[in-house]
């Protein structure tokens, strides 16, 4: 069992954004975290990353919480944030070095792992550049490379498709598929529903800080009473409902 979120209530200040969230991502499973803007996807991810502390409930990765063994917990997660965040002062090569250092990976191993990724994303001749000067898509690729060289047991990926060119999206999906085969668990939040529908084994639909529905596409169809619906249609249904609430 890689990631388990149990009855988590949390948020930024005392006012909770998330209310009693529970879901699991098993080994070799890709779960899509779906929801409208402001549903609580990024907040959920921040809690998993340990950037926010839940008010109530428990989050475990490989049966460790961030408090029981913070080093092991952190080392088990590779994170690709929604907006690329990079060191202004470090070159691409040094981003790989500092990642290796922080996660205690042999430098040579890190570069061995990075090399094919850099090739795929056509970054191999830019090792000496500051990635902060790159375009958004290229920055995103650097984030992907740095997360993948950790080879964690859990990948947390926040909206990966923005800014990537179609070729890169294709290669990225292939990489994800490979990692899944290797037994890694992946939690991915996205708005690009047709990609999600194709890739994900299960879905967690967040709405207003609560879990609105979860399960496989089949489960969702049943739950919404839309037996032939695509994820897109289910999502649309959710959006209409919100419109109704407003």
């Amino acid at each position: 069992m890689s990631l388990a979120i149990e009855h988590v209530t949390g948020g930024y200040t005392r006012r909770p954004v998330l209310q009693d969230i529970s879901f699991k991502v098993k080994d070799g499973e890709l779960v899509g975290l779906i929801g409208l803007n402001g549903a609580g996807k990024s907040t959920t991810i921040k809690h998993i990353m340990g950037l926010l502390n839940p008010f109530e409930g428990k989050i475990t990765v490989d049966n460790e919480t961030i408090h029981s063994n913070s080093k092991k917990y952190r080392r088990s997660i590779g994170f690709i944030p929604e907006t690329p965040v990079l060191y202004d002062e470090l070159t691409l090569k040094e981003h790989i070095q500092i990642t290796a250092m922080a996660y205690e990976i042999e430098e040579q191993t890190a570069f061995d792992r990075a090399e094919p990724l850099l090739k795929i994303f056509r970054l191999h001749d830019r090792l000496e550049w500051f990635p902060s000067d790159f375009s958004k898509g290229m920055k995103q690729k650097v984030m992907i490379v740095c997360a993948f060289i950790i080879e964690p047991s859990l990948y947390v990926i926040d909206e990966p498709f923005l800014g990537l060119d179609p070729l890169a999206i294709r290669d990225f999906l292939k990489l994800i598929e490979e990692k899944k085969q290797d037994g890694a668990s992946i939690l991915m939040s996205t708005h690009v529903l047709n990609n999600a529908e194709k890739m994900c084994d299960g879905f967690v639909i967040l709405h207003d800080g609560k879990i609105y529905a979860q399960g496989t596409l089949q489960d969702l169809r049943q739950q919404f009473g839309m037996p032939t619906a695509s994820l897109d249609e289910i999502y649309g249904h959710l959006a209409d409902e919100e419109g109704f609430l407003v």
Binding site: L51, F79, Y87, T91, M101, F130
Partner: protein, 404 residues
Amino acid sequence: MTVTSLFKQRASIYNKQISRYAKYVLNDHMVLALLIMLGAGGFAYSNYVETVTVGAVLPRLILVVLMVVVISSGTISTLIQSADAVFLLPMEEGVRKELKKRNGYSFLLLAFPVGFAAAAAMPLLVATLGIGFQWWPVFLITAVSYKFIDLRAQFSACLEPDDRKRMMLNSLGKVISTVGLLISVFIDLFAGLAFSLAVCVISTILLNRIEQQKSLQWHYLIEKEANRVQKLFRFINLFTEVSFIETHPRRLKWLDQWIALQSRSQADAHYFYILRSFYRNSSYSGLVLRLVLIGTLFIMFSPGILLKLILSIVFLYLIGFQLIPIYQQFKNNFYFQLYPVEETGKIKSIQRIITEILGAAALVFTAANIPQGIISSVIILAAGLLFITVFTRYYIPKRLKRMT
């Protein structure tokens, strides 16, 4: 909302911000250190002026260089923001008028340091030209009018689409003030004044005529203002946390070997990052370089071992104190919260880098004193090392804990 009221609002926000930060910059430590340096500098300067004879050439040349540096520093605070290129584009006429006003305002503000420098230059002029002190207004007006030309040309550069011509306009102030000050200092103060006023009138007429057909260069304006604000905030950031800081580090490839050598002994992610941040971010390395240079000059030219000793400690303190905010580098992104590394590594890495930098500075200060004698040099070095130990072992951890 009119363009005028928009700029008025911006100016009041900007002024409020700056005056709030000024309190932090001019804190007690800083004022004390400044007073000591001003005193030592004034003392050394007055000693020096006594040795200068009428007609000496070198002191006057140095004076011209220093005056040009003061005159050409400081740009127009246009308060242009990047969104203006989208939203204010149709109101260019109004923006242009506001920029003219900002130009005038910047002139009033920047005339003060120029006036101060001109006043400070007077004793040297009296000594080298053999004139009386009563002529100081002549030199003051001359110097200030060059600042006027400098800013006027900078404004013109904001309308110039051609890169090369823009660069020429931006250096116009420097060139004219160099020529003019040479006239003032080597030929006659009044001839220099006449030259400066004439150039003021001529350049204003010429630039006005050139500008008529041109329109604002938005991207240049935005970039220039962003650079100006960043420079200012980076300076303020040395004293207190400024949230808008945005650095454009330089690659400095030639330092790679040295950086690798320095970080070799222990592979630690904190130190790895902070070391590179230090070198590539000129707000840190440039500052240290400047302070070491100024400190070395002060130590070389101040009389007596006691004063040299005090100065070397004051400068070590200044460098160390100003470097403490490098700690905020760790807050630039969330990685150091995610990495599976010990939290204590942050403080350790800051202690290590400040120890290394201050150690190097202490060696330079000692070397500056070696012509005075070996024993006094040993004393300066020993006192420096003692200070570094106390500062990095006891002061820094306490101070950093307060910052977290």
